[in-house]
């Protein structure tokens, strides 16, 4: 069975970069959903089963940080892993996000193999 993923980033080019990286990483990805901010991401999560969310921090309407907190507070979404994909490199910020519930952190610019490593760590090897 393939993974269903959600990419939340306000930049269309970054969403495409993540899609390409995931594909190049050799992960068995089926459906790919996209959202331009945290609010749109929550709407997708409300209607579709998602195996893993890749989310930016700085987005309009609802940030990645707020998205993580909303998901943590919702029993139906609390166990869905969120991987933050961001340019922010402050260790304090990364630790904060992990404390709020983000499961992993990838810094931009990223490499495809980082996605493979993170997804396999979170969801186990290829199903």
């Amino acid at each position: 069975m393939s993974y269903t993923i959600l990419i939340a980033d306000d930049s269309a080019i970054v969403r495409t970069m993540v899609k390409k990286a995931v594909s190049m990483a050799g992960l068995d990805v089926g459906q790919v959903h996209e959202a331009a901010n945290g609010k749109e991401a929550l709407a997708v999560l409300g209607r579709t089963w998602i195996d893993v969310v890749f989310a930016d921090i700085n987005m309009p309407e609802m940030t990645g940080t707020e998205l993580v907190r909303h998901m943590k507070a919702d029993p139906a979404l609390a166990s869905t892993p969120v991987v933050i994909v961001s340019s922010e490199q402050s260790q304090t910020r990364i630790d904060e996000l992990k404390a709020w519930g983000a499961r992993a952190y990838l810094k931009k610019p990223f490499r495809p193999e980082q996605f493979r490593e993170v997804v396999e760590n979170l969801l186990g090897a290829k199903r």
């Binding site: 930049s11 080019i13 700085n58 922010e88 490199q89 402050s90 260790q91 304090t92």
Partner: protein
């Protein structure tokens, strides 16, 4: 460890990001060639122990190449959306992440804003560049110019004489 805001700090962040993310190899120059045509300017605010704004500028004709390189495709490739301004904004986002850590240190909190991108005339960009507290200009292999500058908007200018 925190560092002063300087053209060297900006040049390092710009050069590394252009290489790592967009496969563009550029060197700093003290004699920048004039922009040939319009310029794409991306701006992004940052707030740590002082607050400021970073400005990345490239020739408008170079933005499509940057977008294609970010996606690892030829210009006009299947994934290239044509939203070349988005590519310049995203590159500044990546540069800002490095600048923030270099300026304030890896453990200091720093908030980054959202990139705002616009197309401007070269003269308008040169006027903005003249007001910057620190700036670097690099030239890539085909002679195209890339500027990165910083304006401090509140707090003391790091590295400035008392």
């Amino acid at each position: 460890m925190p560092n002063d805001l300087s053209s060297d700090l900006l040049a390092q962040a710009l050069g590394r990001t252009m290489e790592d993310a967009a496969f563009v190899f550029a060197e700093a120059t003290s004699e920048p060639p004039p922009f040939d045509g319009d310029v794409i300017e991306a701006r992004l605010t940052y707030a740590g122990t002082h607050a400021g704004e970073l400005l990345l500028a490239t020739p408008a004709t170079f933005a499509a190449t940057l977008a294609a390189n970010l996606l690892g495709e030829d210009e006009g490739g299947a994934s290239v959306t044509g939203d070349d301004l988005d590519a310049v904004g995203e590159l500044l986002n990546m540069i800002a992440g490095k600048v923030a850590v270099d300026l304030f240190g890896p453990d200091a909190p720093c908030k980054l804003g959202l990139p705002r991108v616009q197309r401007v005339r070269a003269e308008q960009h040169e006027r903005a560049l003249a007001t910057a507290q620190a700036a670097t200009t690099m030239v890539e292999e085909e002679g195209r110019r890339i500027d990165l500058s910083a304006c401090v908007t509140s707090g003391k200018v790091p590295g400035a004489a008392p």
